[in-house]
């Protein structure tokens, strides 16, 4: 995504904005995308296979032409946890258990991304529900999250 204004952010600034995250030359584009509220997932330009977390090579065909590519952000909850305690994070006190879901993205079977759920009570969050990408702000940095799709069958 060479047109992103966030490409202008230096590597050092990126490290400062994402403390504790697994930043490297392989994942930097994904995190720059977050600053623009775009969820970029690596896709192989040679064979079309998606993979996550970001790697320097396509695990399916070994092409190194892997391109951080924006996904639609839609998918289905595959795993779900509610944290009654957890690491300190701005805006999270765990007095209401903090939902964390792994979403199987529509782009490819088995391609998954993990984040919290916003906009619904925990009782409504369950494996099998349809979701779409949303964003929350934490200490001024966008964090990818999901929102239940209203028409989702329970």
């Amino acid at each position: 995504m060479p047109d992103l204004i966030t490409d202008l952010i230096t590597d050092a600034e990126l490290v400062r904005r994402f403390p504790g995250q697994p930043l490297s030359h392989d994942s930097a584009a994904h995190y720059r995308g977050r600053l623009a509220r775009k969820l970029l997932i690596n896709r192989c330009a040679a064979c079309g296979t998606w993979h996550h977390a970001p790697q320097p090579i396509c695990p399916a065909c070994w092409s190194t032409d892997v391109v951080p590519t924006e996904v639609a952000g839609t998918g289905t909850i595959h795993l779900a946890v509610f944290l009654h305690q957890g690491p300190p994070a701005e805006g999270v006190d765990y007095s209401t258990p903090y939902p964390v879901v792994t979403v199987e993205l529509d782009e490819q079977p088995g391609l998954r991304f993990t984040g919290t759920v916003v906009g619904s009570p925990n009782e409504a969050v369950a494996i099998g529900k349809r979701v779409t990408l949303d964003w929350i702000d934490r200490a001024g940095t966008p964090v990818p999250a999901f929102r239940l799709v209203e028409s989702s069958a329970s």
Binding site: G20, Q21, A53, L79, V81, L83, P97, Y98, V100
Partner: protein, 387 residues
């Protein structure tokens, strides 16, 4: 590739095992002091001396630190594998069989640290070391992974929480008879169901106990072990197992992860399987791991662990006795003996096969099947036989 090729079969032995016992409270001791106690105990129990050891395998303290601490003059092999301790056994067996060394000291020291219990920080020395800055709560990586897949297991098979509780109760009932265990007060289903929720669907009693303590082992050729002080326990087979998609949230399914690789490879290399084992050990760092090992090892079908446990439940002993004769985690597992990252199961199996298991002794036990580790990057297994 999955293969029956196993040139080391029964040619390498565990000559002895020792433990310090485990405490679920901070003790005024270092991790190294537990390693030293267990290592010197097992070397002495085998009738060996420091100069007889030419291989060292352990994680923390490092092999180099243990060599210096114990004054082991020279080694020709050492390794510092990641936990669980099946990794250590696999390295030691390979090193002995290939001739890189003859007699390996394997140890594992468990230690209460901030990563596994916040109360470790009551001891200021335990807060030193690398910073633990993590990525925040929006992940199922690390310890959260098993909770996430526990939820998936409940979703796919309609499993109630009580099924997880059976594993915790079984292990506690066995730990009552194990003087090395940290948790020895019997547990009821009410105790289990009222335990503090940590990460739904798993509560405090679904997770292993952070402990201080250590186990140690001597691995050598079977030929040499027969000349030592204790009955040799032969390594029939050992394997590790991992698949490509081994990150917690990318793991394909409950039926496609490291467990299946371990089961297929260990079964191909071993002389016996579930039908022929007298002792069974299944990892219980988290209760869902044990339920899935029961199913993946073939004791029962997918989603059937709950029914399997019910039909093999010894009500009088409040524990699992498979076919009325094979206990599960006879020492109490990581859930009640303490979180030993694998060493406790192996030590207990060795003691059982040597006839040294005290009140827990399974009469005439000759074979043990151990399926250790979790789903993602740490599945492993061993088959052990009495000489």
């Amino acid at each position: 590739m999955i293969s029956s090729r196993n040139p080391a079969k029964n040619l390498v032995a565990i000559a002895g095992a020792a433990t310090t016992g485990f405490s679920s409270k901070n003790t005024p001791r270092s991790q190294a002091s537990y390693a030293a106690e267990a290592c010197t105990a097992v070397i002495r129990a085998c009738g060996l001396q420091a100069g007889d050891i030419d291989g060292i395998v352990g994680t923390n303290p490092s092999a180099a630190e243990v060599q210096a601490m114990l004054g082991i003059p020279e080694v020709t092999f050492f390794a510092n594998p990641p936990i669980p301790v099946g990794n250590h056994m696999a390295a030691a067996v390979a090193a002995v069989h290939s001739g890189q060394c003859d007699t390996v000291l394997v140890y594992h020291a468990s230690y209460r640290l901030p990563w596994n219990t916040a109360s470790a920080l009551k001891d200021p020395f335990r807060g030193l070391g690398p910073s633990m800055a993590g990525p925040g709560p929006d992940t199922v990586g690390g310890v959260v992974g098993y909770t996430a897949w526990a939820a998936r297991y409940m979703y796919e098979f309609g499993v109630p929480k009580e099924t997880f509780g059976r594993i915790a109760i079984n292990d506690r009932s066995n730990a009552v008879h194990n003087p090395a265990a940290a948790m020895r007060t019997p547990m009821t289903m009410d105790d289990y169901l009222s335990a503090r929720m940590i990460r739904w669907p798993l509560c405090l009693l679904d997770m292993d106990v952070p402990v201080d303590g250590a186990d140690a082992f001597i691995i050598t050729t079977t030929e040499r072990a027969r000349d030592l002080a204790l009955p040799p326990v032969l390594v029939n087979a050992v394997t590790l197992g991992m698949i490509d998609k081994n990150e917690e949230d990318q793991t394909p399914s409950l039926r496609h992860h490291g467990h299946q690789v371990v089961v297929n490879n260990l079964r191909a290399k071993s002389d016996f399987w579930t039908d022929g084992c007298d002792l069974y050990y299944a990892y219980d760092g988290f209760t869902p791991i044990t339920l899935n090992w029961l199913e993946n090892a073939g004791w029962c079908g997918p989603g059937e662990a709950g029914a399997f446990i019910e039909s093999n439940w010894d009500a009088a002993g409040s524990r699992i006795m498979i076919n009325g004769r094979v206990p599960l985690n006879s020492h109490g597992g990581a859930l009640s003996e303490g979180g030993t990252q694998g060493s406790g199961y192996i030590r207990e199996a060795v003691h059982q096969l040597q006839g040294l298991a005290g009140d827990r002794q399974v009469a005439g036990a000759r074979t043990a099947l151990l399926t250790l580790g979790g789903f993602f990057f740490n599945a492993q297994g061993l088959t052990l036989v009495r000489d």
